[in-house]
């Protein structure tokens, strides 16, 4: 699919840039950014108590996604390219700001009149952060990291993703009940972190 490529360099670039490749951590994370954006749309489009369910999925995906980035991507990016530690410091500052908005949002009832403006403010922060990662961190990561390493990182991100309930619990009809049954976000983060670390350990071998 690389067209009139010349030699192996071109083939390697083609593999890395395949948007469907599960073994490319950048493609995977960009797709997660898309899913997060879509979940924001779903919460925004819902009314009153209907917001619970998409909101819960959004919180979980955000928690898992950020955990995976913090555990897998940022530590590697720090040393992968010149200026990496500065780039990562700025991304972490954005994440921190977004987490503060997220914490404020968690305190609110979804029917609260301030819920939607707070949600939109969080969305703005998350989208700007995601775009900054794509432009200033991921682009360099892809340029400086071997396909093998990118694949290893992708496996760790997928392991974290697998811990997130992305669909409503089957058999539970009420959104409120769903929310109460759902684990607290700190537990989601812990589980995602454990999954990532275990995947990385397995990959590196004994």
């Amino acid at each position: 699919m690389a067209g009139t490529g010349n030699g192996e360099a071109m083939d390697e670039q083609a593999r890395q840039g395949d948007p469907g490749a599960d073994e490319d951590v950048v493609a995977l994370l960009v797709r997660q950014h898309g899913r997060i954006h879509t979940l924001f749309d779903e919460v925004r489009a819902a009314e009153g108590a209907e917001r619970h369910e998409p909101f819960r999925r959004l919180m979980h995906l955000l928690a898992v996604h950020e955990t995976a980035e913090e555990e897998v991507v940022h530590p590697h990016a720090r040393s992968a390219f010149d200026g990496g530690s500065d780039v990562v410091r700025e991304r972490l500052a954005e994440e921190k700001a977004a987490k503060e908005k997220l914490a404020a949002l968690e305190e609110l009832d979804v029917r609260d009149p301030t819920f939607m403006p707070t949600l939109l403010s969080l969305r703005d922060a998350v989208l700007a952060h995601a775009r900054a990662e794509e432009r200033y961190e991921f682009a360099l990561l892809r340029r400086t990291t071997s396909p093998t390493r990118l694949a290893l990182m992708a496996a760790a991100v997928r392991a974290a993703e697998a811990t997130a309930p992305t669909r409503p619990h089957p058999g539970v009809e009420s959104a409120t009940a769903n929310l109460t049954l759902a684990p607290p976000l700190t537990a989601v983060v812990d589980r995602a972190r454990d999954a990532v670390r275990s995947a990385l350990r397995d990959a590196e071998g004994p």
């Binding site: 699919m1 690389a2 067209g3 670039q13 083609a14 890395q16 840039g17 395949d18 948007p19 469907g20 493609a27 960009v30 797709r31 997660q32 950014h33 898309g34 899913r35 954006h37 879509t38 924001f40 749309d41 925004r44 939109l120 969305r123 703005d124 989208l127 700007a128 995601a130 775009r131 794509e134 682009a139 892809r142």
Partner: protein
């Protein structure tokens, strides 16, 4: 319609330059804004870019330094207008999201103009072109879901359908066959001049956008798709610019440009739902009225003619962004298999067309087909949003 731009007083030119604070416009919301607000922004950006480029060409053909300085002064304001307009687009949008919005503009702007165009030959040119932009929207929408896992309906919001048009692979014609016959400046309806200028400006901006942003993508399929569609935009600019009578003098063309800007800012001010954007359209209209007055003076001085001779007696019906779904379905059902031969249209793939196709495709599937192949591999389907039922052409159904 009572608004006559020739009768209105605008803002004096020496009060039109804005400082940084005024230029620092607040971007529109990427999700919660009316998609047609974004379409109006993209359209006016293309119009201002054309105004700037046209003025530069005119200046390069102007000897009198005083006239050159006058052109430079208006052009600087137009450059500020372009900044104020285009900077309404939000930085969080990806290039591909903006691209999909560009194609929505091309589809609904060209459709509306085709519907309103009084001259049948010109209308055919718009009807022919719009089915190609419609297909580009479908190709980019599939790329968007592959790369960002987002559906284009989040951008076009159900106002514009997304499905195959005339297949992009068939857009690659011999350059000779992209040159149409021009309207006759003395006989044509003045509205036709505005239509041609508007569509050619929009397509030119699209061409410039793709030729510059395409290589910012890392994904090979994205890079290649932008290359392919970018080349079709070159054909479209050739197609639309050849509709304009080359016998119009430079000063006449300048008057047409300024009048068209008044027409479009007025139209968009009338429909705009976003209060801040509406205020910007109104401000720019009041600037353009003065630019028009200056252009009219130049035409009188250099051509010895009255601008009223070439302009419409009154402003035409406002140009409107609205859904054109049924109209497009009718065009799909009747014109999907057209191509061009010389300045006209045919259904048969003629020799010159076949040669060009052979030379370009050379037995390979073009990127516009491969993007759909790869999408099907990932999702077991293509992406489309057919809100009004199955595709009107049976062979194009999913």
């Amino acid at each position: 319609m009572t608004f006559d731009p020739l009768e209105q007083r605008g803002i004096p030119l020496d009060r039109q330059v804005r400082g940084w604070r005024e230029l620092n416009v607040t971007p529109i919301d990427p999700d919660a804004s009316d998609p047609y607000t974004r379409c109006r922004v993209i359209t006016m950006n293309g119009i201002e870019v054309e105004a700037i480029l046209f003025s530069h060409q005119l200046a390069r053909n102007t000897v009198d330094p005083e006239v050159k300085r006058g052109l430079a002064e208006v052009r600087y304001v137009e450059a500020q207008q372009q900044k104020a307009v285009n900077w309404l687009l939000p930085g969080v949008s990806s290039v591909l999201e903006t691209t999909i919005a560009y194609e929505q503009v091309a589809v609904d702007l060209t459709s509306w103009i085709a519907r309103m165009e009084p001259d049948p030959y010109l209308r055919q040119a718009y009807e022919f072109g719009v089915l190609e932009d419609f297909d580009h929207l479908y190709r980019y929408a599939n790329l968007y879901e592959m790369i960002e896992h987002r559906k284009a309906e989040a951008i076009v919001d159900g106002l514009t359908e997304v499905m195959p048009g005339r297949p992009t692979r068939m857009h690659h014609r011999h350059p000779f066959d992209n040159v149409r016959d021009p309207y006759d400046k003395a006989a044509t309806d003045p509205l036709s001049k505005l239509h041609a200028l508007t569509v050619l400006s929009a397509e030119q901006q699209t061409m410039n956008f793709y030729m510059n942003t395409g290589p910012t993508y890392m994904e090979p399929i994205a890079r290649q798709l932008y290359q392919e569609i970018g080349l079709v935009e070159e054909e479209h600019v050739t197609h639309y610019e050849s509709l304009v009578d080359p016998g119009e003098t430079w000063w006449e063309q300048l008057v047409n440009h300024e009048y068209n800007e008044c027409y479009l800012y007025y139209s968009f001010m009338e429909q705009e739902s976003h209060p801040k954007v509406k205020a910007l359209w109104e401000l720019h209209l009041n600037m353009e009225l003065e630019h028009l007055r200056i252009a009219c003076d130049l035409m009188r001085r250099h051509d010895g003619r009255e601008p009223e001779e070439v302009l419409a007696p009154q402003l035409p019906n406002v140009l409107t962004f609205e859904p054109n779904k049924e109209y497009l379905r009718e065009l799909l059902a009747t014109q999907i298999d057209l191509t061009t031969l010389g300045a006209g249209y045919v259904r048969e793939a003629h020799e010159r067309f076949e040669q060009m196709q052979q030379r370009l495709h050379d037995g390979e599937r073009p990127p516009s087909d491969r993007v759909i192949d790869q999408h099907r591999e990932m999702f077991d389907r293509d992406y489309r949003q057919e809100t009004e039922g199955p595709h009107p052409v049976a062979s194009e159904r999913a």
